[in-house]
């Protein structure tokens, strides 16, 4: 990372800010003039903020933040039974007034003329592990849940379901240092970081849930993971996915489900697979991805889009609603942000959202990494349990 006086000051202040990966670099948003805690009561009025604006869109005319898993379930009228919970906010959106674009050059744009003086006192972020990472369910408990879900699949209640496991430690962290360390090895396309006064999120999410510009909307579901070894390469990974019946079936199911979600909000005949079954390469693993797109119908608003697409199907299972109900009965601990969505909505209704996976949530001196993998008819408990570990590894390694 290049040295920049403004950024150094920002990193060493207590000021909240957000980093979001873009194709050619990173965008940083800060100087938040509003912070909205999203709950079931205000979510509808929040959506109403985004009406078609005719005037030219300013680059700061947007809200950036996240929806947690629970509020997205509630949007589907799915209630979650009482769970062990950190009482972490269900969703937060911020209105930024300053944007820093990190490309070949660093460009700062702000509504405030004195933006370079708005830092407050310096603050030192200690990096300290107070207790090592522990998993919340062991292989035996996992196997029990797994077998119950396998039975549900045989009965036709669900076709695919994702079991969530969590790794937690007690720690103090410098989220900025952690994030840039992660980006050196794993700059996934939907990476982001949030640093607020009492929590932070560091993420290398690979999965784009919504990319909407004008009436064009794209989603890129991931289903299929292969561990990287010295012998694998992208060509071999492709061969593996194409010839592995289990991975192919899991992927097909997600593709048909995402087509259906898009079909709710798109003009008939416009939903198409624009890139079918390709492999993306990451630090420790390969992913199997398909890109689906469509043209949004005229009378569709922001709420319709969010409700149709979230929570993203590839991290839940299929069919979405009955699987959500099965999951929520089984999971004893709140997913918090995990499998929620982070991104922004512009005032003109354009938006970009990811699925929050491969993320560390740091809150109340606890770092929490959640992962999930799918139970389908021919998966085995041991394999899926291990897949969860591969997914968490690059984040756990950050603490070394």
């Amino acid at each position: 990372m290049k040295k920049n006086y403004y950024l150094e000051k920002l990193y060493n202040s207590k000021k909240p800010f957000i980093v979001y990966k873009v194709d050619s670099g990173y965008d940083i948003f800060t100087d938040f003039s509003k912070k909205i805690y999203i709950n079931n009561k205000n979510i509808k009025s929040f959506f109403k903020k985004f009406k078609k604006v005719k005037k030219k869109n300013n680059f700061l005319d947007l809200y950036i933040g996240f929806f947690g898993y629970e509020i997205l379930c509630n949007l589907q009228n799915v209630k979650i039974p009482k769970q062990k919970s950190l009482n972490f906010p269900k969703g937060i959106f911020y209105k930024p007034e300053t944007k820093i674009e990190i490309r070949n050059k660093i460009i700062i744009k702000s509504k405030y003329k004195n933006y370079s003086k708005l830092f407050g006192k310096n603050f030192f972020y200690p990096n300290k592990i107070l207790s090592p990472f522990k998993i919340n369910i062991d292989i035996n408990k996992y196997r029990k849940v797994f077998n119950q879900f396998s039975k549900k699949i045989k009965e036709g209640q669900t076709y695919q379901i994702k079991i969530c496991t969590k790794y937690k430690n007690k720690s103090l962290i410098d989220p900025v240092a952690l994030f840039w360390k992660l980006m050196k090895t794993n700059a996934a396309p939907e990476s982001f970081m949030i640093r607020d006064k009492n929590f932070s999120v560091v993420s290398c999410s690979p999965e784009t849930l919504i990319e909407k510009k004008g009436n064009k909307i794209i989603t890129k579901p991931i289903a299929g993971t292969l561990r990287k070894t010295k012998k694998t390469n992208i060509k071999k990974a492709n061969y593996y996915f194409k010839n592995n019946i289990k991975e192919t079936k899991e992927h097909n199911m997600i593709v048909d489900m995402e087509r259906s979600d898009l079909s709710r909000i798109c003009k008939p005949g416009t939903v198409k697979l624009s890139k079918i079954k390709y492999v993306e390469e990451y630090k420790h693993l390969y992913h199997y991805v398909t890109q689906i797109e469509g043209s949004v119908k005229k009378n569709i608003n922001v709420k319709d889009i969010i409700t149709a697409m979230m929570p993203g199907g590839s991290v839940i299972g299929c069919p979405k609603i009955s699987t959500l109900n099965l999951l929520n009965l089984q999971e004893k601990e709140s997913r918090n942000i995990f499998t929620g969505s982070f991104g922004f909505i512009k005032f003109n209704g354009d938006m970009r959202f990811n699925i929050i996976i491969r993320s560390v949530l740091h809150y109340k001196n606890t770092s929490e990494i959640s992962v999930a993998s799918g139970v389908v008819v021919d998966s085995t408990a041991r394999n899926e349990f291990n897949e969860n570990y591969i997914k968490a590894k690059s984040l756990i390694d950050l603490y070394k």
Binding site: I153, K154, E155, G156, Q157, T158, Y159, Q160, I245, T248, K249, E250, H251, N252, M253, V255, D256, M257, R259, S260, D261, S263, R264, C266, P268, G269, V271, L273, G313, C318, P319, K320, I321, S322, V376, V377
Partner: protein
């Protein structure tokens, strides 16, 4: 007008999308919130795919019985089983489960509106299947899985009832649009 009954499935809107290529006037409602005024106006009733088994959806069974012989009825996956269940068929678990599976299907009957012996690839998502032997008045088994021989389609040309165990709306199904077009104009 085509009225689609949604069994809370994540594929229903693919069905809606597909049918809307042939009829601009489509209504799709959740099985617990069906609107009989609208159904009465419809020319075609479609039972969507969905989780679980036909016995979990008594309202859909009631609709089938009420409108059989009065309107064209199409069932997909669970909807297919729904039709058969109400024709006194047994719907049972199968040993090998097909979710997201592409397999070859063959038209096995001369009485089908499709050409006999025609083969094509289809997308399948089902844990349950029709138990054989099965027979019901005017019903004809018209397609089977090429490998397992499991029933993949039934047709009742006299009462205009058509059912597919596979998913014509899936991206895994070749010529899915053609299938639907042919049935809508039959």
């Amino acid at each position: 007008m085509i009225y689609i009954i949604d069994h809370k499935d994540s594929f229903t809107h693919n069905v809606v999308h597909q049918f809307s290529k042939f009829d601009k006037n489509i209504e799709c409602e959740h099985f617990s919130k069906v609107n009989y005024k609208k159904i009465n106006k419809a020319d075609v009733i479609v039972f969507s795919p969905g989780p679980g088994s036909p016995k979990d959806y008594p309202t859909s069974s009631k609709i089938y019985k009420n409108y059989k012989c009065k309107k064209k009825i199409i069932g997909i996956c669970l909807g297919f089983q729904q039709i058969l269940y109400n024709e006194k068929a047994k719907i049972v678990k199968q040993n090998k489960i097909y979710h997201g599976f592409q397999s070859s299907v063959r038209v096995t009957s001369k009485k089908s509106i499709f050409y006999k012996n025609k083969m094509f690839k289809v997308g399948r998502y089902h844990s349950l299947k029709l138990k054989e032997p099965f027979s019901a008045k005017n019903f004809e088994i018209t397609m089977r899985c090429k490998i397992s021989n499991v029933v993949m389609a039934v047709e009742n040309k006299i009462d205009h009832i058509y059912g597919f165990q596979f998913h014509p709306e899936s991206f895994l199904t070749e010529n899915g649009n053609l299938l639907i077009k042919k049935i809508l104009s039959a």
